[in-house]
Structures are given as C-alpha cells and as structure tokens.
Symmetry: C2
Subunit: 571 residues, 2 copies
C-alpha cells in the first residue's frame, strides 16, 4: 500500500472516531444576547444587564463530557463584556475562561463571541460577567452538569432544583466603581436587599425613594416559590453570587444534608442553616417531612458584617397549598451575624465523600503565603496581597505570554511571602507603607504541587477583619486546613488534613484566620485567583498564576483585539 | 560625488525643509485621559465623563494650519469611547473624524488612540464624544483656531472669550438610552438645568431628591462669571452642545453683533438675543457700554419646546465690581418659547460677509429631499428619513468601503425622495407604515454638487413638529434657503440665495418647514449627516454620505479592531 493511501485511511479512521465521540458527548449550543433592560428584582426599578431578557440568565443544562457552545452577542450600547464559566476548569481551552485581561480581550458592542468548552465533571456551577463590575449589574446564571447515563450519585433524591442567591444594590456599578476609585473613598454601604433566584423585596416606603421607581405590587418581585410534594426529597443546588454578602440560608423547620460542594461529593452532614460565600455552590438534600397543611419560609441572611440589609425571603410551598399563601409564622431570624464559630465549624465539617477521595499529594514543591491587607496607595483605599495591589493589564496575560509581548505587564513577580512576615502583627491596623500596585503574576513550574496560605489580617479599621471568599480559575484545590491567627510555617502544616480534604474552587478565609490550599499546576494556561467580592477584586485583591503556557496550543484570534494585540491587525 | 553622499545631502535638505514647515505650522500636542468622576455642575452630584478631570474638557487653542495631535487615553472601566472634532473638515484625514461606526472603531479601555489632523481654517469649533450617548455624559469641549499671524478679521475687538452652552440631565445616559429603546417608550423629559460653560443651578429643595446628592453651596455650581472692563469690546464665542434644547442667549441690557457662524464671517447684524441650536457656534461682539457700577445677568433659555427647564444664569461682571455680586435686577425672561417667527428671522438674517463670500455653484447635480418623520417600527418609537430609520453598522463604513467588506451593511441605498412625496401631508400624524431600520448610505459621485432639502413634518403627536439642528461632517454647506410648509421642487429653488449664502456645518430645520443646503462632494471619505439632538440620532435621525472613498489613502490600523475588521488580526 502506498503511503498516500495509508494516510487517507488514517484520516477516514480519525473521522469515524471523532464522529463516534460526537454521538456520546453532545454539543449544547446556546445563542445569547446581552443587553440593558429595566428590571425590578426587588421592586425597585433599575437598569440590569440581562441575557436573552433575563437576570439571572438562562440555565445551562448539560451532561458530563458535553461541549458547550455559547454564541454571545453583545448588544450593550458602548460597553464591552466577557463571561466566566465558574467552576469549569477549561482543560485544553484556557482561552475560553472568560476572564477579561487574563484570558481574553473584552467583547465589543455588536460582536458575537463564541465560547466553546467541555464540561468534564458533573456538578453545580455558575457563570457570570468577569469584566469591570458587570456581574453586579445582573449578568449571571447557573450551570448544571449531570452525570453520564448509567452513573449515579452517592445519595438519592426525587427531584433536582436550583437557586442562586445574591445581594442587590440600587446604585449602578458605574457609581460604585467611581466611588471606590475616588479620593476620599466612597463606599456604597450595605446591599439594599437579598435576592433568591433573582427575587427580593425592598421596602418601597423607605424615605427618599423617588416617585415611580419602586412598586411593591410588581410581579417581578413577588417571592420565589419552591414547591414541594409532601414526603419527597429534593436535591437543592444552592449557589451564591453576592457582590459582598456572606450568607446564611435556611428553610424554616427543615434540616438540610450537605452532599456536594463546588462539584465534589461531601461526606454528608446535617445543618439547620447553610453558610455560603460568593462563588461557592452546594447541593443539600431536604425532605418535605413537615406539616403539609402550610407553607414555610426560606430565608437568606447577611452575616459576617454588621449590616442593615433585611433578610431575603422565599416560600417553601407544600403542594397543593397555594404558592402565594404566606406561612403563618414569623420568618426565622437566622444566626447572629457575628457568630464566627458556627461559620468556621461548617468550614471544618466539609470533607470529601469517602468513596470519592482525590488523593492529595503528601508534600508540596512551593508554598506561597498570601497576606491579605487593606491599605492606602497614593491616597486610594486598596486591598493588597503581600503589599501588592493587583491590577489587570490591558493586554490579556495569556496572549502576552504566548505571543511574547512581555512588556505589557510588570515582569517582577510578586513575593511568595511578605518581607518581614515573622514580625507582621495581623491583629492591628498596619500602615503597609511599602504597598504598591502591580499587574505582575506568579509563574508556577508545570506539574508542581503548590500550597497557598491565605492569611487574613486587620483592615484599616481598629478591631476589624473581614471574610474573603477566594476563587481559583482553572483548578480545584484541596482544602488542607483552617486556623485562627497567624499561620505558623513550621507547626501548622502538621495539622493539615491529608486524608480526605474536600476539593473546591472557592474557599473563605475567616476573620483574623488562615486557610491552606494545595493544587497541582497541571492545567496549561493563565488563571486568576481572587477574592470573589466584586469590589475587593476591583480594589486589588487578587493574583494570577501562569503554568505550562508553552503547552497551550494556538490561541484563537477571537480573543484578541485589545491592548498590544492591536498590533496584530494587518489589513 | 558618490550617490551615497548625494542621498545624504537630500535627506539633510528635506530635514531642513520639514523643520522650516514645523516652524510655520506648529504641532499642538495634547495628552488627554478620559474617565468617570463625580461632578456637580448644577449642584446635583452625578457621574460625568471628564477629560483630564474636567467637563467641559480642556480648550484646544491653535492657529490656522496647525496640526493637532491628541493622544486620547481611555480610562473608563468597561466602556469604549470616540471623539469627534466638530467643524473640522478632516481634509486628507477622514479616519480622524472620530465618528464611531462611520470612520473608526471605538477606543477600548486602556488604549491610547492618536487623533492627528490639521485645523485648516480659523474659527470657532467644538469637540465631543461621538459614541452611544456619551456626549451627554459631559465629554465635550471647545476648539478655537486663530488666524495666521498678520491676517485679521473683518471686525475688531479688545478681548476674545469662549463659552459653551449645554443642557443637563440627572439620569444617566444608560438609563436614557435604555428608555428610548424600551417598549413602551420611556422619554426622559425636559433637562433639569441649563449650563453656561459647565455651570448651572438645580433647585436642591426639589422634592424627592435623595439626601446628600444636591448641595447648593458647592463651588462647582457657582454661576459662571464673565468679567469685562468698562468700555471694552469682547468677541464672545458661543457654542451649543445641548442634548435636546434649542436655546436663546442674551446679556441683560447689551446688544450683540453677530460676526461669525460655524467658522464663517457673517454680514454683521445686531440681536438682543441669539438663538443657537445644538452643534452651532457663533461669535458675537459685545461692548461693555452700560452702567459700570453694577453687574448684569447672562441668560440661556430653552425655546421651541414647551418646557419646565429653568433658565440658565451667568454673571456679566463689570470690573472692578465683585464677581459674585448679584445684579440688582430680575434676570430677563427671554423670548417666548413658541415665538417661531423670531427664530426663522434669525436664520434668514444669516448671510456671508461680503468680503468673504465663497461663490456657490449655481446649479446642482443631484437633489436629495430628506423627509424627517417620527413613527413606530416594530413597536419602538423611531425617527426616520424617507422612511429609513438610520442605524450604525458595527464595522465602520470607511473601513468596509476601503477593504471591500460590503456585506457589513445594507447595500440598498436609501431613497433620494420618499415614495409618494407629492401626496405626503406634513401637517398630520402619518403612520409611515413602510418605515424600516437600515444602515445603508448615500454614495455621492465625487466632485458633484449636491442639494439637500431637509423637510420637517408632524411628529406622532397631533399639531406637533420639532426643530432639528442637522450637522454635516467633513463639509461646510451653503444655506440656500428656508421655507414654511412643504418644499415645492419646481418653485422653491427659484427663491434660493445664490448670491451671498452663509456656509455652515449645522443648520436648523424649523417646525413644519424646510431648509435647503448645497455642498460639493469633494472631500474623500465617509461623512455622517444627522440631527444633533443626541436622542434623535440614537433613534435613527441620520444619514451617511460616501464620496471619493477610492481616493482615500491607506487607512491607519489604529481605527480598526471591531466588527468585521477583527478578521485582520493575524498574530
């Protein structure tokens, strides 16, 4: 046989094989249009960024191994956009992560951008804008990935239901971000309301609300109704995409069994209320085993900060009671906002399900201690990590690194540990006079094991520390441990859970405490790691990791067009 | 002499020559940063787009023949930008006109775009954003081009002063544009205040204003002060960049002699008040010849629409009186808003200065009658021209035409006259059922003479017609005449002023009337022609002319990167 014929047969064979895999793993094709519309999610009318007219946007429903294709049309007037697929690791498609400045240029008005990626693991995920502070303007939604046919979860339920929790501001994201950048600093304050699946309730009688802006009878702000059949068990997938708030969620009179966190099965444990931080997802099982003659309240409450935000309410409706029938009881008031112990205990309770343990490497190659501080730089209030307040470059790192445009960002890497760590007192207001702004990144050696210690500290206010939920793109990490006070490099690693740590993509660092994570730098690309509080990331609370970028195949030109990549325009 | 030496000498000679020309025509280099800041131009605090921290932005001061270089850095968070140099014809530099969708792609956040063009004629000009509705957000300023050394104007004065008039809304441009696109249509209503050189005064005691937003003692909203020395004569350059309002401007007790309009010398005439429409500029001479012991009011008033907007006030301050000394009189109340005759009379009074007549071609090659109507298209309220509501393409025409990307816009040209023009009744509400939206353009034969008849009509409201100031990019046009009612194709041209018509770049079409213009299509490029009311252009009240695009030299790649030009990205 001639070589030519052999080659032809090979091509034929490959075609058949790829056809075959197409049959097994479906392509789920979505066409989305992003635009501004007036909405009243909490009865107060404001501009909201919608997907196909909705906020939250359409839910992506897929099966493990499917390819998701989203053709995203930007119909905003003058604003660009980018969408991140939160919890999807983008293995082999680092350019589809949707992180403006890191993995792509923003999508211009009028453009249609194609996101194409594989959802390679069943679980509960999210999507949201990852550009400026657009997430807070309402551009967010759910991803639910089912197991392949024939596989089953290590728990059982009758129905699968999804909600997203959120907090809601009446000021526009422009006003908020301009305030954060102002000298003196202008802070937007507490959210006006908490939303459950896009619905909340602001008190329209609040003084100072202009006429016509708030309408308590608007159907858009009628409470979300979660209808259940008595006796049945529900898998409730709960996600948080708050701008700021740490939340507690509970269903009056019903326990919840936690079974999944960020796409990983949990050694089940029972809670009365679930603490959930921005960027986290959980599945809980709840059985409709209470008096079926009435409805019950579902409640979200803002915790961790002393606040004025009223609790968010939904109705847990026992069929066949009328869905709008108000429960006869006062809604549960939830845990005290400052009960830090309860929150830490939940963090400690999270372990991998025994049947689904991903063995954790017993040692690591590198330890990076990220000290989270708040301080002033040139008069502006910033968050800094090891005295570096993170800023995004205007040429996305992924492109800069692949195309050798290294002048587009600061080449001095940020430190693995802050100078003077031993003497740093996390319990007092520290001036951090050496803090600077930089868009430098951490370069990780491919396939090495990296430990990250998130170290919390006092803010610029006396006796104040805040909870920060950190989210890692492109990876899940093992959560090795939590501790109070300052991390002790020689002693604390001895207390790591190296047996059955849960894997997550988002984890809180508690007040004045530390959180230890481990991951293997085995996903070629450039990955953001940042506090998921929208304003905190805007103010510099983030970092970026590069790993194996030399293994990334040819970048699609669709992600280019901004910053220094404009030089690639050759008509 | 060797060839090498000869070449060296040539280079040397050329260098000296170019150095010489640099001395005669200077390069004026500006570095501007565009960003959002909180400002209180009328005492009410809102987000404003500033240039180098100011709104109005810095004034460009140049001499005829100078080259202006503006390095514009976009420091908005998620929004693009583009700036138009209003009144500058961009001869030889059509790509520098700053009209998003027509001559360039928008400038992305983080990018610095270089505008470079020659100001080839002395006069009073403007600059402003030409993207979405950003002009209304405060991105605007003045251009003043002086005569070459040794030349002088046909009038004399002691001092040269500049102001820009504007109207001001408290709602953001996002809210306004989303309202205009909504079904049902949401109209923002009358402006909250009128600004003189960026300063106005909103009544902070207005009910429904949230606490802390309005501060009557803020220095930003203290009245603009125009200080004069008794007996001296001032050239006052007056520009309007209102979003909506037609204005009257007057200085209590002082006559004004109109001497310049849109960069052209006028046969001088005296007015008590000057009517000025958005996009127009005038120079008036005013002599400080009144009782010098007191100050006087300068007043802008919204006319042509019945409105609730309070008059804008500034202080005409006779030195050495204290600038903040309030005039002892009640400010003049200005002309009646509906005194259309006075406005038409001013239009008719505008003639070219006898010593500066640009001879008008006595015949034209083509006549285009643009019928301005308001109607619904698919439920949305639109403005249409000959039943075509204009939309901008996402690939700028200039690039599409040069690079042969003709699929990026509708290739069916809009009509030169509406079908059924003879029977069209401009005095009634017409359904205009054939109206459609389109991004098609008019292609003009190079160097031909084109007549444009702007024909006004009734809006969607009974007994209502509105004034529209139309602005042409890339050209000045001769204003041949104005008339009441419907233009008569056979009779009205006989009444044209073909002797001393003024040349302008912006002209009103009065209620139920017509305005006839003539220009020579001799400036290779693609030029927008549109109603200068920000919301009207957004709603489709515009057209675009192409002429001699084949003569345009190589386009700079800096204007590319959006729409179909993304295909030019080849890393």
């Amino acid at each position: 046989m001639k070589m030519k014929n052999l080659a032809f047969i090979c091509v034929l064979l490959l075609s058949i094989l790829s056809l075959n895999s197409t049959v097994e793993a479906r392509i789920r094709h979505y066409r989305w249009e992003v635009k501004y519309e007036f909405k009243s999610p909490d009865c107060y009318r404001k501009l909201v960024i919608t997907v196909n007219g909705r906020s939250p946007g359409p839910t992506i429903l897929a099966q493990q191994g499917d390819t998701i294709v989203v053709d995203l049309k930007n119909s905003l007037l003058t604003e660009n956009v980018a969408i991140h697929w939160h919890g999807i690791r983008q293995i082999g498609t680092p350019w589809a992560d949707g992180t403006e400045g890191v993995t792509q240029c923003p999508i211009l008005p009028g453009d249609t951008f194609r996101y194409k990626f594989v959802v390679d693991r069943a679980g509960t995920y999210l999507y949201h804008a990852h550009y400026g502070m657009q997430r807070e303007a309402g551009l967010y939604g759910s991803i639910r990935v089912a197991l392949p046919a024939g596989e089953s979860e290590p728990f059982s339920y009758d129905y699968d239901r999804s909600i997203i929790l959120n907090d809601w501001y009446h000021k526009s994201t422009y006003e908020q971000s301009a305030g954060l950048s102002s000298i003196p600093f202008v802070w937007v304050g507490d959210p006006q309301s908490l939303l459950i699946q896009g619905r909340g309730r602001f008190n329209c009688s609040t003084p100072g609300i202009a006429a016509g802006l708030c309408n308590a009878t608007n159907l858009e702000c009628s409470p979300y109704v979660f209808t259940v059949v008595p006796g049945k068990t529900y898998r409730l997938r709960i996600r948080s995409l708050t701008a700021l708030a740490a939340l507690s969620f509970e269903i009056e009179g019903h326990n919840m069994t936690v079974v999944e966190a960020d796409g990983h099965y949990v050694e089940p444990f029972v809670v009365n209320n679930l603490f959930i931080y921005s960027g986290e997802t959980y599945s809980v099982l709840v059985t409709a085993n209470q008096d079926p003659s009435r409805n019950y309240w579902a409640v979200t409450k803002m915790v961790s900060r002393n606040n004025t935000t009223p609790n968010g309410l939904a109705i847990f409706n026992y069929y066949p009671n009328h869905p709008s029938k108000s429960p006869p009881t006062v809604p549960p008031s939830g845990p005290f906002w400052n009960d830090i112990e309860a929150r830490v205990n939940q963090s400690l309770a999270l372990k991998s399900h025994p049947g689904y343990i991903h063995p954790v490497p017993q040692t690591s190659d590198r330890m990076i201690i990220l000290l989270n501080t708040q301080n002033r730089i040139n008069g502006s209030v910033k968050w800094s990590i090891n005295n570096v307040s993170f800023t995004l470059p205007h040429t996305p790192y992924l492109i800069s690194l692949k195309q050798n445009l290294l002048h587009t960002f600061d080449q001095t890497p940020p430190p693995d540990i802050i100078n003077g760590y031993e003497k740093y007192d996390i319990n007092v207001v520290a001036p951090n006079v050496n803090a600077t702004s930089s868009n430098s990144l951490y370069r990780l050696k491919f396939n090495t094991t990296v430990d990250i210690i998130l170290q919390n500290a006092n803010t610029m206010n006396v006796n104040n520390s805040e909870t920060h939920p950190w989210h890692l793109h492109g990876h899940d990490f093992w959560v090795l441990g939590y501790g109070n006070g300052k991390f002790n490099v020689s002693q604390d690693p001895k207390r790591y859970n190296l047996v059955n740590p849960i894997m997550k993509n988002t984890v809180p660092v508690h007040l004045y405490g530390w959180t230890a994570l481990r991951f293997v730098a085995d996903n070629p690309g450039v990955w953001a790691f940042h506090c998921h509080i929208e304003s905190h990331f805007y103010m510099g609370m983030g970092a970026v990791f590069e790993e194996g970028v030399e293994k990334v195949t040819k970048l699609p030109s669709s992600i280019m067009g901004c910053g220094d990549t404009k030089r690639f325009i050759r008509p």
